[in-house]
Amino acid sequence: MDAEPVPEVPSRAVVVGGRRRPESLPGAARRIGYLYVAPAFILYAAFNLFPLAQGVNVSLYNWDGITPGTWVGLGNYAAFFTDPAIREGYVHVLILMFFYSFMPIVIGLFLAALLSRIRIRGLTFYRMLLFLPLVITDVVTALAWTWVYDVNGPLNTVLKAVGLGHFIPAAGWLGDFNTALPAVGVFGMWGEFGFCLILLVAGVMKIPASLYEAAWVDGAGAVREFFAVTLPGLRYELQVVLVLSVIGTLGTFDEIYVMTSGGPGTATSVPAYLVWRRLFQTGQVGSAAALGIMLMLIVFVVTYGLNRLMERGAQE
């Protein structure tokens, strides 16, 4: 129960018709709050809440988007266990999480630990550069990386120059079944690591210097210091980047659309991409809705789970 305690007030001033209401200040128009919230709420309800409910409804039908649908109950959800295309989409997203979430955080932590002790001159400038991948339109950055991975692009140029040309897959990084997904992952890693780094460095700055001094006096080495001071001090920032990056990964769409169109085969298909394909290209609208709703439920569970996990970590 998260509602704040409601005062036990048996007074006529605030109890009307036996129902409790939050007490209003003298002379304050009681309903004016609704007026302020109403425009936003109407819009929000019409384009977020109501469609969500409709989405749940649609997801219970087998519907082609045109002719009347047929009721299938949870059939579209059962497909999560039977339809390999869907299962595969989620496996891909799980693999992407390694790149979009885990790697940037590990790199960010490592660098934050190294960078923490010394004041860097011109940090604002570097921060700006590190932020660029996050700020610039996904379509643009994805096109940039399509070019990085191009047959004659910079990546292959470097590999050939250092004599690693034989590692280059014949179909190109984005065309090869084995490298397409990791290649998209590396793009995502590039997009996220600057943000993680900045957030974590900012977090390290907030850890009191006295803690480091105490660790130093106790004779802790760099590693001990990291696990005893830095890591616990960053718990909150870690929780934030973890939740944000995991949610972000679950919704991956733009870069898939631009870089691989889900291919080769279905090697890079992800849930959001499936939603779009099924809505527009293959007329599996009920299934598309179920995929979307399921995605939301997973986001819920992940957010809740990560928050709980981090809170429990805090208590120990």
């Binding site: 509602a3 209401r21 939050p22 007490e23 304050a28 004016i32 609704y34 302020y36 919230v37 425009p39 936003a40 819009l43 929000y44 384009f47 977020n48 809440l49 969500l52 649609v58 190294l114 960078l115 002790r117 010394i118 004041r119 860097i120 940090l123 604002t124 570097y126 700006m128 590190l130 932020f131 996050l134 339109t137 379509v139 643009v140 096109l143 940039a144 070019w147 990085v148 692009g153 910079p154 140029t157 590039w190 690591f193 900045i198 957030l199 130093w216 949610i247 679950l250 919704g251 769409f253 659309y257 631009v258 939603v275 779009w276 609208v285 598309a288 979307g292 709703i293 939301m296 986001v299």
Partner: protein
């Protein structure tokens, strides 16, 4: 922290410079690539300056990519959507921060829910709703959906901003006899101006970068990123031309970022930490 040795300092600079280079390289590379001679055979390696600076690529990309039209869409949508969503967020955030009314908590939580509803969960019915309203492929579809999509964060953000104002300020206004409307616009809004600016900048960035909604709801009225994706689909083999298109689409957001970088970072960092 006087224990840092010279090597450590050097190492730190090396690290941060390397990281920054990694972050920037693909973007700088695209700018270089965009200046290579246009054509399918042109293969910029990304390490050398182009043999000649083919600025004309930008003219070609602008014309062949139909960017005049897609920029118009993006600008119109942003011009309506940014004030609308920031304005509604100010109103809503004000109510949630300063007033208690029946169900205010529950309504607020409903808005917070919006922070974690992915677009994919609503896009399917939205498509049919928007079609039923006859708004498919119009500016209005994008304006309405982007506005409502920003409200969750906007209200959350503005509520926090208004809550950070001293309570006594509101009380002084009450005693001075100011109506809630006057209190909001003459006292709280000036007070929260930095937060509002940050929200405006972030909202603009979201609007300018919007791709998925544009892809689903528009055909003739594509936004700049969607127009770019379509353009790149037609000229896959012409790397310099597509790169020029990419640079064109990146420039406005880059300018906004450079001017408002402080707001940007504060918004993204504190927004993230609070969210």
């Amino acid at each position: 922290m006087n224990t840092a040795s010279r090597t450590q300092v050097t190492l730190n600079y090396v690290l941060i410079i390397v990281c920054s280079l990694v972050a920037v390289y693909p973007l700088v590379g695209v700018v270089l690539a965009s200046l290579y001679p246009s054509g399918p055979a042109s293969a910029p390696s990304g390490f050398a300056l182009p043999p000649s600076f083919n600025w004309h690529n930008y003219v070609s990309a602008w014309e062949q990519g139909g960017f005049a039209a897609s920029f118009t869409t993006s600008i119109i949508v942003a011009a309506v959507m940014v004030p609308a969503s920031v304005g509604l967020s100010i109103l809503g955030g004000f109510a949630f921060a300063t007033m208690r009314f029946r169900g205010s908590k529950a309504i607020f939580y409903l808005f917070i829910l919006g922070l974690i509803i992915p677009t994919e969960a609503t896009i399917v019915p939205l498509y049919y709703d928007v079609r039923a309203m006859g708004l498919l492929d119009t500016y209005w579809a994008l304006i309405l959906l982007e506005t409502s999509g920003e409200l969750a964060f906007g209200i959350f953000w503005m509520r926090a901003a208004f809550l950070s104002a001293p309570r006594s300020l509101l009380e002084a206004a009450r005693i001075d006899g100011a109506s809630s409307w006057r209190t909001l616009w003459q006292i709280l809004v000036p007070f929260a101006r930095p937060a509002i600016l940050t929200l405006t900048v972030l909202t603009f960035a979201d609007s300018w970068n919007e791709f998925f909604l544009a892809l689903v709801f528009t055909v003739n009225h594509m936004t700049a990123p969607a127009g770019l994706a379509s353009f790149s689909g037609r000229y896959t083999t012409n790397i310099p031309l597509v790169s020029a298109g990419a640079v064109i689409v990146a420039v406005p957001i880059l300018i906004v970022f450079i001017i408002f970088q402080r707001q940007f970072m504060r918004g993204m960092l504190t927004g993230a930490v609070k969210g």
